[in-house]
């Protein structure tokens, strides 16, 4: 019992209590200031919460990035579209008269 003194036990107990209550307080404050995202639960919750909170705190007074006119693309890029269904193609051939 020489390694585990009363002083060490009390210090450890106080530290754990202080740490736990600090975390609870931080979570309460975070919720009040809108820093907890909808996807804060689940396996990626901690990461998503940290990213969301960091972005909220960092960009409170930020404006969107600005670009010069010369940077407008010559070939605009369109995102991938799901393949058109046969039904849609039939409507398309009939100029959507039966739509």
């Amino acid at each position: 019992m020489s390694k585990l003194s009363r002083r060490k036990l009390i210090t450890a107990g106080l530290t754990v209590t202080a740490g736990a209550s600090g975390l609870v307080l931080a979570a309460k404050l975070a919720k009040r200031y809108g820093l907890i995202p909808p996807d804060s639960r689940g396996i990626y919750g901690p990461g998503e919460t940290l990213t969301y909170a960091a972005q909220r705190l960092l960009t409170r007074h930020s404006l969107a990035r600005e670009f010069s006119r010369s940077q407008i693309s010559k070939d605009p890029f369109a995102n991938e579209v799901a393949p058109l269904s046969e039904e849609f193609k039939r409507f398309q051939q009939g100029a959507f008269a039966d739509w």
């Binding site: 990626y44 990461g47 998503e48 972005q55 960092l58 969107a64 070939d75």
Partner: protein, 239 residues
């Protein structure tokens, strides 16, 4: 003279070392999955399948829109890979801050990583490089103090490669860049940040391979024992 069994690596060094190792390997796997969704790299601000790439990785892609030399599309892993990448990035950054702050404040960097000025002379550096290339096994004293090439390599990884890979990673985030526009402008654009991020990954992977090989050369069991439990086998002085 009594034997002083003090620790080779402190508890903080050991815990942060393995946390960073785990985070880095997770970042590597998730990051490679992200590359697979678009194995083309560009330079400047923009780049897509309609613009000529700086270079292509000759693999199949998990997106049908990306032209590759293959007739099939790999399974889409974009969901979990991005979530995991950002979560492990937080583990790396928070642990890194802890290690960096502690190391600066308690003298760990100054005592254990900073090389002696006399050791960085061209002659002694050349000698150390030659010894390493000859796969010469280290002396007993080297179990207790990093040699000059080790110190320079670790300082490069801790203070250059990791900060830069974090910077280029953040430069790809639209929200971060709206708060700190220079983070991406200095690099030449978002696609430049992505390409640099990829090359820095390569440099860190190279470091990892050389590091593990050197640990094997020096004595895998003794070095692992020192980095897990803290105690090296040989005490500094014998009775």
């Amino acid at each position: 003279m009594a034997v002083t069994p003090h620790l080779r690596h402190s508890g903080l060094v050991r815990v942060t070392h393995w946390l960073i190792t785990f985070a880095f390997l997770t970042l590597l796997v998730s990051g490679l999955e992200i590359v697979v969704s678009h194995p083309r790299f560009y330079w400047g601000e923009t780049g897509n399948v309609n613009t000529p790439p700086l270079f292509k990785i000759p693999i199949a892609s998990s997106r049908a829109m990306v032209p590759t030399a293959y007739s099939y599309v790999l399974p889409d892993q974009n969901g979990w890979s991005r979530y995991l990448h950002f979560q492990s990035a937080w583990v790396l950054v928070l642990t890194g801050f802890l290690y960096g702050a502690a190391g600066l404040l308690n003298g760990h960097f100054r005592r254990n990583l900073l090389p002696a000025p006399s050791d960085v002379s061209p002659k002694r550096l050349a000698l150390s490089i030659v010894q390493h290339l000859r796969f010469k096994r280290p002396s007993a004293e080297e179990a207790w103090s990093y040699n000059v090439l080790q110190r320079l390599a670790y300082l490069l990884v801790i203070f250059a490669l990791f900060p830069m890979i974090i910077w280029t990673g953040l430069a790809m985030s639209p929200s971060f860049v709206s708060a700190v526009p220079d983070a991406v402008n200095v690099l030449g654009g978002q696609q430049s940040a992505r390409t640099l991020h990829f090359f820095l990954t390569g440099a860190l992977v190279l470091f990892l391979l050389v590091h593990v090989f050197m640990v094997f050369l020096a004595g895998f069991r003794s070095r692992m024992r020192a980095m897990i439990a803290g105690r090296a086998v040989e005490p500094l002085e014998r009775v």
